[in-house]
């Protein structure tokens, strides 16, 4: 197991280097140098070169990349061109919100998708119904679902605050009130796909020999369903959760924009709109490392429950 973990961690390093280099090269080559953007089109080439040098944007690409990585390693992501704020502290403020959002979404989907589709009573009806709903669920865009929720729950029924965000320090209730709709919106995708995968897996496992044995032993349908079929149908969900983290991040970007929440997604969107290099690069780096680490965790979780995949190659 230790060799397996070590191998996976080592494999991550080249991937992170390749991706961050691509990110850095693309962002800094295509968008023009920061000084050119800051000073506008009428600025003299000398002024642009001078400001670029001051911002640490001179020298060949590789040197600039290494300088950026070196600073990033010591936690220094520079200052935002738009607000002059330290990018590190912007990220420290935005990241917990996005992580919380994503965590709620995954946990809720992971608990409810298997549970709701396992009750023996009415199982056929519930499973079919959930499958149909899920088909709609995976195709509905986050921004539409979010606005729909706002319209129904906030505008018409006046149950929840429309948009915005309240930190935990404003009170647990206020915080959760602002979280309900964003989390529901973000959970939708995972819940729908989990349901589709779980139901098909459940149906396959249902006809296995050990289920027949359990049934002939006279176990109750509830026990068979929850103790025998559920644990054996849940494995693909772990793999899928790991594989589709990218979609979760994309979803979070949209959800944070719909509900105007100050998380990483909004940070990225506003940085792109303002051509704010240091913020774009830093958010990109965090997303790359985040996705890689979460992928690794999903792999490890899978290895933990299924020993046969613990091979190095």
């Amino acid at each position: 197991m230790l060799a397996f973990i070590g191998f996976r961690v080592l494999m991550m390093i080249p991937n992170v280097i390749i991706l961050t280099f691509l990110l850095f090269a693309c962002v800094t080559t295509f968008l023009g140098t920061p000084a050119a953007i800051m000073l506008g089109e009428e600025a003299s080439p000398e002024a642009v070169a001078e400001l670029n040098a001051r911002l640490g944007f001179d020298g060949p690409l590789l040197t600039r990349y290494l300088r950026w990585m070196e600073n990033a390693f010591s936690g220094d992501f520079g200052r935002s061109y738009a607000t002059q704020e330290s990018v590190g502290s912007m990220i420290v403020h935005a990241l917990p919100l996005t992580l919380e959002l994503a965590l709620w979404a995954i946990v809720i989907a992971f608990i409810f998708a298997p549970l709701m589709n396992s009750f023996p009573v009415l199982r056929r009806t519930v499973q079919s119904l959930n499958s149909v709903i899920s088909l709609v669920g995976i195709t509905i865009p986050n921004f539409f679902l979010g606005l729909l929720l706002i319209y129904v729950l906030s505008v018409e029924l006046r149950l929840l605050p429309t948009t915005g965000w309240a930190p935990w320090s404003d009170g647990v209730l206020a915080h959760l009130e602002h979280m309900v709709m964003p989390v529901l919106t973000l959970t939708n995708f995972y819940f729908s796909t989990f349901t589709l995968i779980y139901v098909s897996e459940y149906r396959a496992v249902q006809s296995s020999l050990f289920v027949q044995v359990a049934r002939s032993k006279g176990l109750s349908e509830t026990r068979i369903s929850f103790r025998h079929i559920l644990p054996n149908s849940i494995l693909p969900l772990i793999t899928y959760a790991g594989l589709s983290l990218g979609q979760l991040v994309g979803g979070a970007v949209v959800v944070e924009t719909v509900f105007s929440m100050p998380g990483m997604g909004r940070l990225l969107v506003s940085a792109i709109a303002a051509r704010d290099f240091p913020v774009m690069l830093a958010v990109g780096l965090v997303i790359i490392v985040g996705v890689m680490v979460m992928n690794l965790l999903a792999d490890l979780a899978y290895g933990l429950v299924n020993p046969t995949v613990r091979t190095v190659a």
């Binding site: 991937n15 390749i18 991706l19 990110l23 693309c26 962002v27 295509f30 968008l31 079919s128 149909v132 088909l135 709609v136 995976i138 195709t139 509905i140 865009p141 986050n142 921004f143 539409f144 606005l147 729909l148 706002i150 319209y151 505008v155 594989l243 983290l245 990218g246 979609q247 979760l248 991040v249 994309g250 979803g251 970007v253 949209v254 924009t257 719909v258 990225l268 969107v269 792109i272 709109a273 051509r275 774009m280 990109g284 997303i287 790359i288 996705v291 890689m292 992928n295």
Partner: protein, 260 residues
């Protein structure tokens, strides 16, 4: 089995309706989609079934013409995805070994990344036009096509007729073109509708975030974005085009996933 054929019929009927809307947009749409008027933010009425937006443009007409824009991006990027992804998948699957190892590493790397974020950054770099959006979304989707093709090639390359071709001394290029490719085409075409649905979904999300087809073109995501601030008074302004996106994505997904 009955539900399967039902969803298949539903998908094809919806697809036919969408195709009709695309083809006959000028006949169906009551107004010019980009013509502004003084009738600003009018509520739904007999004249304007979905009301008008902040520039006095008829929302229904914009939704109808938006189908064209949306499908243009969707179809073009699906084609780009297939054109880019297929050769990579063919090479990885056919040559295996080192070629495969390298290509699969790259494919997996990009499949894991958030497609929307990738598209966001690339679109920001290239600038948002219909052509750039199609290329961007196509490239972002290509790795999934490559992975699918690779899996299929693994199966086909072991078949007897391929073996026979190799035994007669046919070159790799010839075998791939005449034996492998024809046998994976069906799978690729089956995926096309799913890719179109993904591209429409993602391009609408991009426009919603402000990086879509530039105005004044009637673009669904952009309409949702502009209309969202009027949600309490004129919900159809944003929910109308939003529903259009959802319905179109649903249709293509249904057609793609129920195809045999």
């Amino acid at each position: 089995m009955r539900t399967l054929s039902f969803s298949r019929i539903l998908g094809l009927v919806l697809l036919a309706i969408i195709a009709a809307v695309v083809a006959f947009a000028p006949l169906i749409a009551p107004y010019d989609p980009v013509a502004a008027s003084v009738d600003v933010l009018a509520p739904p009425s007999a004249d304007h079934l979905f009301g008008t937006d902040s520039l006095g443009r008829d929302v229904l007409s914009r939704i109808i013409y938006g189908t064209r824009v949306s499908l243009q991006v969707g179809a073009a990027s699906a084609i780009v995805a297939v054109l880019v992804g297929t050769p990579i998948g063919l090479a990885a699957g056919y040559f295996r070994g080192r070629v495969d190892l390298v290509l699969v590493q790259i494919i997996d790397l990009f499949v894991a990344l958030p497609g929307l974020v990738l598209a966001l950054i690339i679109t920001a770099m290239l600038g948002a036009t219909v052509a750039n959006l199609a290329i961007t979304l196509g490239v972002v989707t290509a790795p999934t096509v490559a992975r699918l093709v690779r899996g299929q090639v693994f199966v086909v390359r072991e078949m007897l007729f391929v073996e026979a071709a190799r035994a007669t001394g046919a070159s790799s290029a010839w075998i791939i073109r005449h034996h492998i490719l024809p046998n994976v085409t069906r799978v690729i075409l089956g995926q096309l509708a799913i890719k179109v649905s993904y591209a429409i979904f993602t391009s609408a999300s991009l426009s919603y975030l402000g990086l879509g087809v530039p105005p004044p073109a009637p673009d669904w995501g952009g309409m949702v974005r502009d209309g969202a601030s009027f949600l309490p008074i004129l919900p159809l302004l944003s929910l109308g085009p939003g529903a259009a996106v959802a319905l179109t994505v649903f249709t293509f997904h249904l057609v793609g996933s129920t195809k045999k």
